[in-house]
């Protein structure tokens, strides 16, 4: 393995790569002075609000706005008739109307929007809009959506994408065969900072400035501009403070509506979703039904995998096509297998639209393949660790898509390092016997003698960056003047801490202490999306590249001044040094009175589309992780207490170890949530639990201690040796928890979240 180029001075000065400096926005956030998108305001602003469909499927016969217009304080009401440009938007396919005009396809679909002087006036105006619906029978069963005899619910058809994979000889039969059908419920990203934006129109309506919490400023801008019939340059996006994202801010939600109201009224407009509206107004994790049959020899070595995936995309396509590709191409998990046949569908229904959520299709595949690995272990008489070690993938192995894993692939090490972490030493209920530690906690429902403990495993592979020929490049600009660096990029900071490591990179490359960050907006080229665990690699690569270009020019200047070859110069600490001589000059001094500015675009290597048989180098890079969960289960009431999670994650190189730990622990909390509590429940297309009272999220009492080992094997393919770390924690933590519950109660559980009645009945 090639070592990453060592940087002199690394890990020797505070704030450099490998250190864990605090967040630049940390003090503002703890003091409440950090401006989130919902905190933005402007003189003379109006409030915006959205009218949504109460039906999963209906035709709109008419919309009567007259009563709403009569309410004092209402300044604008807009419907599909008022959209000046393109009537639809979407990330991959532009199939979602800005406002429904003739048909509504899910509960919550926007039909109209109002601007008024007070939120309560908005609410009353929405209540006064009369929409005459002809209610239709919704299509809610994804299997029916595949059936070509079922009428399409959208002009683009009901099958958003079908993708097969045929690899090797899929007729190979194993002496050992295990089979299962797995279901994954619809998870919500449930970020805390609700959707919110402020749109400020240019004088005369020549353009608009939108302050918004998003994951991808430039893509938003492109979609918004098309709908407003403006050029991209006439729409300026500024990142409003983002209160979490997790995939839900990759799609447009209120962006076009807010801008449209601002342009219509000529006044700034603020729009902010309620929690209920947020559940309806953004895309979710795809519910999935996955069948798998694994073939192995008596030693447990995988020979062949058969699988079928059905992902419910809901009413509009969003990123469903890419989510499906991720799901099917991760069928095998982090295990070698030469033969496979996979069939996958992402379909359209009248359920809530689904798109990106942390893990992006791989969460679903992993829950199925890890369930299968445990079944295989039992069938072969092996323990869960041994079956995984025997099949563990390595660098150079070939995926069922034909793609060779070229990244560092320390699957075996992740498993062994996880296994080496200590199991909890306390008995059920803890040493102090506090009943709060038992399943059911404060309910005091558990009888300690009946509680059963279980241990389970999950191991996963996750692709990093975008796939299938998408060039999701990132741009950064670096400016050095008088020893101070300023950095400019459009990378959405959503809490993950890119703004922290950007400074670390600049300090390390340029030997400075002071790094200023310019506003995050569309005044520079795209950074791509803050998703797919890609910003450390892509925007980190862009910042690193821009800083290196500046460093080259600095070295040329110093070299010219001293009559030496610039190639002899290096950064050591805060100085430029001659590696072959005595020269040592502080960067602050060397850059005194000059300005050096460079912009760099980082592109990852090209990838390919999958062919009809699912073959092709479709992914950019991969990361790996292992999880072990310990749970206590009350089998009588079906309640679960997760006692401990241990993990070893392949991070390449931890640029900021404290941030990496934060991503790992936070991702595991979301994985635990999917395992035992989180699900949007829909009946006939209607959402039953669109609130934080009814959609359960892990609290501090639900989260166990997490033991973490960072597996640091710098990846030669990554610009800084660092892999993205955001998604892997929430992928195999879910199957690990479920495996632990199975271990405790000795029963198959093939669905997440695991509900009390799945255990107790």
């Amino acid at each position: 393995m090639t070592a990453v180029e060592p940087v002199l001075g690394e890990r020797t000065l505070p704030g450099r790569i490998g250190d864990s400096p605090t967040r630049p926005d940390g003090v503002a956030k703890v003091q409440g002075s950090f401006a989130f998108s919902g905190d933005m305001s402007a003189d003379g602003f109006l409030w915006g609000a959205t009218l949504r469909s109460p039906h999963p499927s209906a035709r709109i016969r008419s919309i009567d706005l007259s009563a709403a217009w009569r309410i004092a304080g209402v300044e604008a009401i807009v419907t599909a008739d008022d959209v000046p440009g393109k009537l639809t938007y979407g990330l991959i396919a532009s199939d979602q109307p800005v406002f429904a005009s003739d048909t509504v396809r899910y509960v919550g679909e926007p039909v109209a929007a109002v601007a008024a002087i007070h939120p309560e006036v908005c609410r009353r105006a929405l209540a006064a809009i009369v929409v005459d619906y002809e209610v239709l029978e919704p299509l809610t069963d994804p299997e029916r959506a595949i059936d070509p005899s079922v009428a399409p619910i959208h002009p683009d058809g009901n099958v958003i994408r079908r993708q097969r994979i045929v690899c090797g000889d899929p007729s190979v039969q194993g002496e050992i065969q295990v089979e299962g059908t797995y279901e994954i419920g619809m998870q919500d990203q449930a970020f805390l900072g609700l959707e919110a934006a402020l749109a400020v129109p240019d004088p005369g309506g020549a353009g608009v400035e939108l302050h918004v919490a998003t994951q991808w400023l430039h893509e938003d801008r492109h979609q918004i501009a098309a709908c407003l019939d403006l050029a991209d340059e006439q729409v300026r996006l500024v990142l409003g403070g983002v209160g979490g994202a997790f995939g839900a801010r990759e799609d447009i939600s209120l962006q076009v509506h807010t801008c449209l109201l601002a342009l219509r009224t000529g006044r700034p407009v603020r729009m902010a979703y309620s929690r209920e509206e947020s559940f309806l107004g953004h895309v979710h994790r795809h519910p999935a039904r996955i069948w798998m049959r694994h073939h192995a020899d008596r030693d447990g070595r995988l020979l062949n995998i058969e699988a079928r995936f059905v992902l419910d995309g809901g009413a509009y396509a969003s990123t469903s096509a890419a989510v499906l590709v991720n799901a099917v191409t991760h069928t095998q998990g982090p295990y070698k297998c030469d033969n496979a046949i996979v069939d996958g569908y992402a379909v359209r229904t009248n359920n809530l639209p689904c798109g990106a959520m942390r893990g992006f299709g791989v969460v679903q595949a992993c829950f199925a393949h890890e369930g299968q690995m445990d079944k295989l272990a039992r069938a072969c008489g092996l323990d869960p660790v041994e079956i995984r070690l025997r099949n563990a993938m390595q660098t150079g192995d070939r995926l069922i898509t034909g793609q060779v894993i070229e990244n560092v692939a320390p699957v075996e090490r992740c498993i062994l390092e996880t296994a080496a972490l200590p199991l909890p030493d306390e008995p059920v209920g803890g040493h102090d016997g506090d009943p709060m530690r038992l399943p059911g906690g404060a309910g005091l429902t558990a009888d300690r003698q009946h509680i059963r403990r279980g241990i389970g495993w999950g191991v996963s592979i996750k692709n990093l960056m975008y796939s299938e020929n998408f060039d999701d490049y990132s741009t950064a600009r670096c400016r050095l003047a008088d020893g101070v660096v300023s950095l400019k990029f459009a990378t959405a900071e959503v809490g993950q801490g890119f703004i922290t490591i950007a400074g670390q990179i600049a300090r390390t490359v340029l030997g400075v202490d002071d790094v200023e960050l310019e506003p995050i907006d569309t005044a520079i080229g795209s950074a791509g999306s803050t998703s797919a665990s890609r910003q450390t690699w892509m925007s980190g690569g862009a910042v690193d590249g821009a800083c290196r270009l500046v460093r080259e020019r600095l070295f040329e200047l110093v070299a010219a001044r001293h009559g030496i070859d610039a190639l002899r110069l290096a950064i050591d600490g805060r100085d430029v040094v001659d590696t072959m001589g005595e020269l040592r000059v502080a960067v602050a001094e060397a850059s005194s009175g000059i300005v050096i500015e460079e912009t760099f675009e980082h592109h990852h290597r090209p990838t390919e589309h999958l062919d009809e048989l699912g073959q092709g180098n479709c992914h950019t890079a991969f990361a790996f992780v292992a999880h072990r969960a310990v749970v206590d289960v009350d089998p009588e009431l079906g309640l679960v207490k997760v006692v401990q999670i241990a993990t070893a994650q392949d991070v390449g190189r931890a640029l900021n170890p404290l941030s990496v730990i934060g991503q790992i622990e936070g991702g595991i909390a979301q994985g635990l949530g999917l395992a035992v509590m989180e699900e949007i429940i829909q009946t006939d297309g209607r959402v039953r639990n669109a609130s934080f009272t009814d959609y359960l999220l892990p609290t501090m009492l639900d989260m166990p201690p997490v033991l973490t080992t960072l597996v640091e094997e710098p990846d030669p393919m990554a610009p800084l040796g660092a892999k993205g770390v955001g998604e892997p924690p929430c992928i195999s933590s879910t199957p690990a928890v479920v495996a632990a519950i199975r271990d405790a109660i000795g029963r198959d559980l093939d669905r997440v979240p695991v509900r009390p009645f799945d255990i107790a009945l």
């Binding site: 967040r23 950090f34 002087i117 309560e120 900072g193 209160g243 934060g662 892990p698």
Partner: protein
């Protein structure tokens, strides 16, 4: 920037006074249906309290009212007169964070930061009544504050560090 008025159509608009962070603040022309959270944010410009669920489940809008930690989204502003209200802005001056606030920054307990002001309020309240809480006590006391980013590990670490530091100091 705060909103200036409400239309008479929204009902009887009264003048009332809230005592926030030690200062009397007059609220004029407000609709009586406005929550304390809304008035703090939109009329008094105290944007540090956050709204994330509107039903007292997430703790993001936590403030102290007469020393009691509660969710300001559940309180009608017009009913919170004659009470001492403390918001996140009343915890420490800008640029001079409290020990709890600094510990959150240093321990890596802040990611997106949306839940943070509420958690800071709850942490101050916890350490006020129980200076040396056990881990379980911390988990129980802060379980009304949902954080979606951190998985809580670094938050518990921050609270424990403050507790230890205060003990050493005293």
């Amino acid at each position: 920037m705060t909103i200036s008025s409400s239309p008479a159509e929204l009902g009887s608009n009264q003048i009332y006074t809230l005592r926030v962070n030690g200062t009397d603040r007059e609220v004029r022309d407000a609709w009586v249906g406005e929550s304390l959270l809304f008035v703090l944010r939109e009329r008094l410009g105290l944007l540090g309290s956050k709204g994330a669920c509107e039903q007292g489940e997430c703790g993001s809008c936590s403030v102290l009212v007469d020393g009691e930690l509660l969710c300001s989204c559940l309180v009608l502003a017009a009913s919170a007169t004659d009470q001492e209200i403390v918001t996140i802005e009343g915890i420490a001056p800008v640029g001079a964070p409290s020990d709890v606030q600094q510990a959150y920054v240093d321990a890596g307990a802040v990611q997106c930061g949306f839940c943070t002001p509420g958690l800071i309020m709850a942490t101050h309240a916890l350490l006020e009544r129980s200076p040396d809480p056990s881990e379980l006590e911390i988990r129980e006391a802060l379980s009304g504050n949902i954080c979606r980013c951190t998985g809580y590990g670094r938050i518990i670490d921050a609270v424990q560090k403050v507790s230890v530091a205060r003990r050493v100091e005293s």
